[in-house]
């Protein structure tokens, strides 16, 4: 400490060396040692809590799959299909039907409260209006 230019104060040095000495002298070291060993023994004997990340890999993969599938199911239930997305419908190929069958179909369509025709380039016979179906029927009758 000879290089410590500011540490000439013998009183400060003496005080610093005495600081905490009396309290430390009152410590029962043997009792402390036994207490520490007992605590270490308790910790060593305590069952370790199993960690999720210490499980076998397959279990983690299975858990992840369950989460993904469950989330998909929930999402389907929560969010309906967005507008514009056509749901799959059972279609009938009208071109294979005979003229009487087509006439019958036309009648049933006229009786029903048919919706407005969809304006699209790619429409099926089921999307045609009664007038359009009638025209189609007439053309088929002419062909036959």
């Amino acid at each position: 400490m000879k290089d410590d230019a500011t540490f000439h104060d013998a009183e400060l040095q003496d005080l610093a060396q005495r600081l905490g000495t009396r309290a430390a002298e009152r410590l029962d070291v043997e009792r402390t040692a036994q207490a520490v060993v007992a605590r270490l023994r308790e910790e060593a004997g305590a069952p370790a809590r199993p960690s999720v990340w210490s499980q076998p890999a397959w279990l983690k993969i299975a858990a992840a799959l369950v989460v993904v599938v469950g989330a998909g199911v929930v999402a389907q239930g929560v969010w309906p299909a967005p507008p514009g997305v056509a749901l799959p419908v059972e279609t009938v190929d009208l071109s294979d039907m005979s003229a009487p069958q087509l006439r019958e179909l036309l009648r049933s369509v006229e009786q029903a409260d048919a919706p407005e025709p969809v304006s699209s380039q790619d429409v099926g016979l089921e999307d045609l209006s009664p007038a359009q179906l009638r025209a189609l029927l007439a053309s088929l009758e002419m062909e036959t």
Partner: protein
Amino acid sequence: MPPAEPVAADSSPTDAALIAAWQGGDEQAAAELVRRHARALARFLAGAGAPEADLDDVVQETFIRAFRAVATFRGQCRFRTWLLTIGGNVLKDAHRRAKRGRVVPLGDELRSTDGDPHERAVAAEVEGRLGEEVQQLPRLQREVFLLRAQQGLEYDEIAAALGTTPGAARVHYHHAVRRLKECLK
């Protein structure tokens, strides 16, 4: 500055040997490490502001943390120095929880039977003031001051334990001494 307390007598196993023995399951090796270093640790903690009523608890907690983390001790400094820095962390946590100041056991000084009672009381009062001022120091200054002035460690050792440079440790020490001297005038 007196030399640092001897860590182990020649015939005793080294700290490293005791650590290895404890890691191998020898409980008595752990107990021996506590016996060897508890007093110095308690002195450091009391000097840093540990209330005497809690001193045993803080010493125990420090050893427990040290034994849990002993695998990370790479011998960058002595085991005792490493232990003292852990003690500093334990004390900081304890202060944070308790938010209570150090109680200067002035009455205990007066129970001493040697010397003039008045001189003892004055010395105890000055020591109590120093203890309070040490607690007011920034943490690094406080730890460097205690490791240097109380424990008698060299700057290289202090720097290695605190993860700083010897030059920085020296600066912290000088700041601490200057401030303490001003306060004790």
